[in-house]
């Protein structure tokens, strides 16, 4: 079966008073049906803007270039009617910070039911009932009560479950989860990730996990993409990437994950320096200033994304397996 989502040479830039900022540069990727893909990167790496572009959610000062194809439909630059057919039904997105992402003055039930009313043509009463069943599937207690409540009356974990349930109402083929656990307590994080895993199985759908935290996606994804400064720097099957990272940045990320087993380190591992600001594009490899393996050549020529093993790496001197 063909890929659920194809992104080809996507560029996203924002025009501001002082010039334009390139957030996403020449990114290409594919999400296979049923696959769980993780996209990892620091803030400013462009990982969120990438999928906002796919969903047509960029602000007005954004300009895009390239192609995004979902189930054969060209999404980039499509009109609202085309986008609205796909968004919320077959292609859904779960946002971080559910307190800010849910409409404060509407009841939970309304916000859930309207998806079904819009896409499945249900009556409000039927949609409300289906919303209640979804809340049950999301392991939310007292679903009928919660339906009538407002977002501020629920706990953070419950709100995120509502967001996830909201995305699943129309049985989407692909769900994009942007930092789904970022604003939650650690104990709740695990529950939410488990819920996502269970739902993926039940609904048989593709899942894209966007995160700044490699550790969160480690036990989860089939395939991991690492982004740095708007570009993909490594793309590999999860097991391979975690065991044998090829790009120095990936290796550093893995090194920085605090370990619960083994001897206590003297200091916590960190990555020196900062990622480059999107306003200052560098010649050569964007990671070179922070790379322990950087050579003079790295600062001159930007390494292209080259196939290597089961995936690809953008590095002049990739690590050996």
């Amino acid at each position: 079966m063909s890929a659920a989502l194809i992104v080809e040479s996507l560029n996203v830039s924002f025009t501001q008073r002082r010039g334009s900022i390139e957030a996403v540069r020449q990114v290409s990727l594919e999400v296979a049906p049923g696959e769980c893909l993780a996209l990892v990167g620091e803030s400013g790496s462009g990982k969120t803007q990438l999928f906002q572009a796919a969903m047509g959610l960029l602000p007005k000062n954004a300009s895009t270039d390239g192609r995004v194809i979902f189930q054969g439909v060209e999404l980039l630059g499509a009109d609202d009617a085309t986008l609205n057919r796909v968004r919320g039904s077959k292609l859904a997105m779960v946002f971080q910070d559910p307190m800010m992402s849910l409409t404060p003055h509407l009841r939970i039930g309304t916000q859930l039911a309207e998806v079904l009313v819009q896409h499945a043509g249900l009556s409000w009463r039927d949609a409300w009932r289906s919303a209640g069943s979804m809340l049950e599937r999301m392991r939310i207690a007292e679903p009928q009560l919660r339906l009538r409540q407002y977002p501020h009356e629920l706990s953070g974990g419950m709100r995120q479950r509502v967001m996830i349930g909201m995305s699943l109402l129309c049985e989407p083929s692909l769900v994009i989860a942007d930092e789904p656990t970022a604003s939650l307590d650690v104990t709740v994080q695990g529950q939410i990730m488990e819920l996502l895993r269970a739902m993926r199985r039940e609904f048989d759908m593709s899942l894209v996990l966007i995160s700044h935290d490699l550790a969160v996606v480690a036990g989860f994804a089939d395939r991991i993409l690492v982004m740095y400064a708007g570009r993909i720097v490594e793309n590999a099957a999860a097991v391979e990437l975690l065991g044998h990272p090829r790009h120095p940045y990936t290796a550093e990320l893995i090194r920085c994950i605090p370990r619960i087993t083994g001897p206590l380190p003297g200091r916590m591992a960190t990555l020196a320096g900062q990622p480059p600001r999107p306003q200052d594009p560098q010649p050569g490899c964007a990671f070179a200033p922070r790379c322990p393996r950087a050579a003079p050549h790295c600062r001159v020529e930007r390494p292209p994304l080259r196939a290597l093993g089961s995936g690809a790496v953008a590095c002049h001197f990739p690590l050996d397996p």
Binding site: M55, D80, M100, S101, Q118, L145
Partner: protein
């Protein structure tokens, strides 16, 4: 169960607001009383000197001979009975009668003005926000600046000049009971400033709301733009407009002073102005109290409106 609790919260909220409103009215009434007493040259100190017996009679009738606190109590009780005393200038009428005659006219003018301002201003502002930087946006906002800056006592004569004298479409001034044509220009002049302000306010607030994360979620759910705006964006966007309602009504009230005077409409605005010019103390007093009461009542209504617009307010106190 929960809805009873919520209703109780609303009632409690309303009562707290009422509890602040009543003292305010009380303060106003008290201040007006003392200002009136402190005025240089009592209310009887007019251009023509009155013969002493008549002066004494009048003073008795108006209770001027009683000690201060007794006058105050008497004043309060007559107010409570809706008696504002006789007009000093219109000797045949009591202030209450004049209020009775004028209030309906002013209320009609004012309520039409505020309703029109909302009905026209909100959609205009919302549209301008959705079509930001379009021709519609620039035109609407330019007109809005005009509406806000130019005072109604300039607008009305200009409108009267244009539509009344040059085009002969509408009467220049005057009033006949039941006539609609005579009200068009005054209402237009009254409506323009708040309409302009509301349009601008709505536009600015809508622009902000449209950048919210929950609007992004609504769009991501594939909802059509109209639904996103009307169901998700409108209510939060209207919060500043709700805040503005009380100043808007105050502006319309002050505008009515001028508009009624110029157009010759027999509302309490015109009476107030004439009373001010003629130094008709009781009349001015009565009018001020009525206007204050109206504003305070408006404030209470707006508080209720807040609670509806933002459910989070209901849960607090």
């Amino acid at each position: 169960m929960r809805s009873v609790a919520r209703l109780a919260a609303m009632v409690r909220y309303f009562l707290t607001r009422l509890a602040t409103a009543i003292p305010t009215l009380f303060i106003i009434v008290t201040i007006t009383f003392f200002v009136m007493r402190a005025a240089p040259g009592g209310p009887f100190d007019q251009e023509q000197a009155l013969p002493p017996e008549i002066l004494a009679n009048l003073q008795n009738a108006y209770g001027q001979n009683l000690p201060v606190w007794r006058q105050y109590v008497r004043y309060l009780s007559s107010l409570a009975h809706g008696d504002f005393g006789p007009s000093f200038k219109y000797k045949d009428f009591t202030v209450t009668e004049l209020i009775g005659q004028g209030l309906p006219v002013t209320l009609k003018l004012g309520s039409i003005a505020i309703v029109l301002a909302l009905l026209l201003g909100i959609p205009l502002g919302a549209l301008a926000a959705v079509r930001q930087n379009s021709v519609l946006d620039y035109t609407a906002m330019s007109l809005a600046v005009l509406g806000i800056a130019i005072p109604s006592f300039v607008v009305l004569p200009v409108l009267a000049l244009l539509f009344g004298i040059y085009l002969h479409w509408l009467p220049v001034a005057g009033w006949e009971p039941g006539s609609v044509r005579h009200l068009v220009l005054p209402i237009a002049a009254l409506t323009l400033p708040p309409l302009a302000y509301i349009a601008r306010l709505t536009r600015g607030s809508m622009l902000e709301v449209l950048h919210s994360q929950f609007i992004r979620t609504a769009r991501a759910k594939g909802l059509p733009l109209r639904t996103v705006i009307l169901r998700h964006a409108m209510r939060p966007a209207l919060m500043p407009v709700a805040s503005y309602l009380v100043p808007a009504v105050a502006a319309i009230m002050t505008g009515s002073l001028v508009v009624e005077s110029i157009a010759g409409l027999p509302g309490i605005g015109r009476y107030l102005v004439q009373g001010a010019v003629n130094r008709d103390y009781t009349l001015v007093l009565g009018m001020v109290i009525i206007y204050s009461a109206l504003l305070i009542g408006m404030g209470l209504l707006v508080d209720l409106l807040y609670a509806w617009l933002d459910p989070r307010v209901r849960s607090q106190r």
